[in-house]
């Protein structure tokens, strides 16, 4: 197998706050054009790690290279080649989606057609709506659209599907896979293991600021089974979510 090309390389990353160490010396690589998942409980240090790579937060020590640029020296170059979706970020008040797109194109210094960007995330009908008036799924799709403005090499999605209904989640998965298929590397965090299993090429489990496992979802599951693990209950060929989707339909719904 070819040695994959690492686009992000994190070595011995440490982040200390006053009296507490959020990230204690983690190392990992993200390969070009994969979907990489950071999994773990709240407060494990996922978001902190992400924000340090995004150059939004200072690290205490360690080395991070993003597409050949060091976060210490070339933060502004890194910002130009990444797209960032923050957990719970807001957008400029009183502006509609097209106007927000224009603002971000100015901030990134690129010329884009706002409507084309909105079409990419299927929000063209909401062009004149305010961000606040969007549903949860629409908000997330809009956030993802803003990350694509500068045609980034890597996008970071922090819990993109939290709080969405099953249809909206599946929509978003399709969107994320599309983005990856267009050549963009995707790094995301999530609490949903089914999502990670469906979406991610590789996942890292983060616990108390350390990586405790890192592999493809398949390998990790196989390892567990080989260690003699058995589910208490025989798994059926469908689960309740399949029932939900089957009953309520899979297509895009106006309100998600």
């Amino acid at each position: 197998m070819d040695k994959p090309n690492a686009i992000i390389s994190v070595k011995n990353l440490v982040k200390k706050y006053d009296d507490f160490t959020a990230v204690q010396g983690i190392s990992f690589d993200v390969y070009q054009n994969e979907i990489f998942g950071l999994l773990g409980p709240n407060g494990a240090g996922k978001t902190t790690t992400l924000e340090i790579i995004e150059t939004l937060r200072e690290k205490t020590s360690g080395e991070i290279i993003v597409d050949g640029h060091s976060v210490d020296k070339d933060a502004s170059k890194i910002k130009r080649i990444i797209g960032v979706q923050l957990q719970a970020a807001g957008y400029y008040p009183n502006l509609n989606l097209v106007e927000l797109m224009e603002l971000f194109s100015g901030l990134y210094g690129v010329d884009i057609k706002p409507m084309e960007m909105l079409e990419k995330v299927n929000l063209q009908d909401k062009a004149k709506a305010k961000y606040k008036a969007l549903s949860g799924g629409q908000k997330q799709r809009f956030s993802i659209a803003t990350t694509l403005i500068n045609s980034p090499k890597i996008i970071f999605l922090d819990e993109p599907t939290t709080g969405l209904d099953p249809q909206a989640r599946r929509n978003l998965w399709d969107l994320i896979i599309d983005i990856r298929n267009n050549g963009t590397t995707v790094v995301l965090t999530t609490h949903y293991m089914d999502e990670a299993e469906q979406l991610c090429d590789r996942v890292a489990f983060v616990e108390r600021g350390e990586i405790i496992a890192l592999d493809t979802p398949d390998n990790l599951i196989d390892q567990l089974i080989n260690s003699g693990f058995e589910r208490k209950k025989e798994v059926k060929k469908a689960n309740l979510e399949d029932v939900f989707i089957n009953l309520t339909g899979k297509e895009w719904r106006e309100d998600n």
Partner: protein, 363 residues
Amino acid sequence: MSKPYNNTKATLALAKASFRSIMRSPSAVVFTLAFPLVFILVFGFLGGGGVKVDLAIAPGSDLQNPIIKALEEISVVHIIKDKDAADIKTGLEKGHIDALIDVQKNPSGKPAYLADIKYTSASIDKGNILKSVVHNLMYTLNTKDVMPTVAQLNESTVQGRIYRTIDFILPGQLGFSLLSTGVFGTAFVFFSLRQTLVIKRFFATPVRKSSIVFGEGIARIGFALLGAVFIILLGHFFFHFTLINGAVTVLNMLLLSIIGLIVFMGFGFVVSGIAKSESTIPPISNIITLPQFLLSGTFFSIDAFPSWLQPISRALPLTYLNDAMRKVAFEGAGLWDVKHQILIMVIWGIGIYAVAVKVFKWE
């Protein structure tokens, strides 16, 4: 990606976004336009009349006589007819009516009329004005056909510029509008952008912090100048606000507005930095704006304040903005003539931005 990043473009994109946002924000429009306009309208319609003495005519008084006729022609005197005795009595007691006159034909012939005037202790000032008006009138009436024996008095008035209430009120309101836009607007915007993580999202783009500050500043100045032009033109065309040198005066006023606004925005940055929550912004902002509203000669000349208060008034930046505005608008002073006022505003600006740099928070 090889194209160099354009900071100006980012700044302008922010300015445009912010301007759009401000134009759609009801509170900004209310503070910058509606609030000052209400005061200008009120004072515009009140003003110009000067002092009025309300003089009631007693029921049963003779009306066809030279005294009443002459009084009716005096602009200071406002004649009230058709009130019954009871109304007049309570009016006098409360000071709504300043005096009562009763003129009767003299049955004994000479002098032809007898005029009784009753003043009220509820309105001594206006009573005194009326007293001198009436004395003057009586003298003129009684000496109509008599040659003066000692000296003849010739009076005339120099034709000067009319200083209307609006000439005082409008610059004060303009200054206050700039103060509230600068302080409240800036404080709320930066606080809420920080709180809703809008700024954090901006930081994930290559934009510089200075672009964010300048973009916001440009938008706010643009908006405030629109407001200023609107206020000045409305005052000029509807209430005869004096603009000595026409467009040049307007331009000078706008330049002063920019200087004032930049200083006031400094206060806004400080407030957004020290406010712990959205609800603490209004009280902190009011601590800054209200004293200036009251003490900086917005409504009354600060010369009218007690002497212990005047040094405080003379320490506030709005005092100097108001002062400079009035000099420019009414006296036709150039910016160089008000350099003293500008200098004091600049000193305030340096001081407040030094504090702002210390307390302002991005996250």
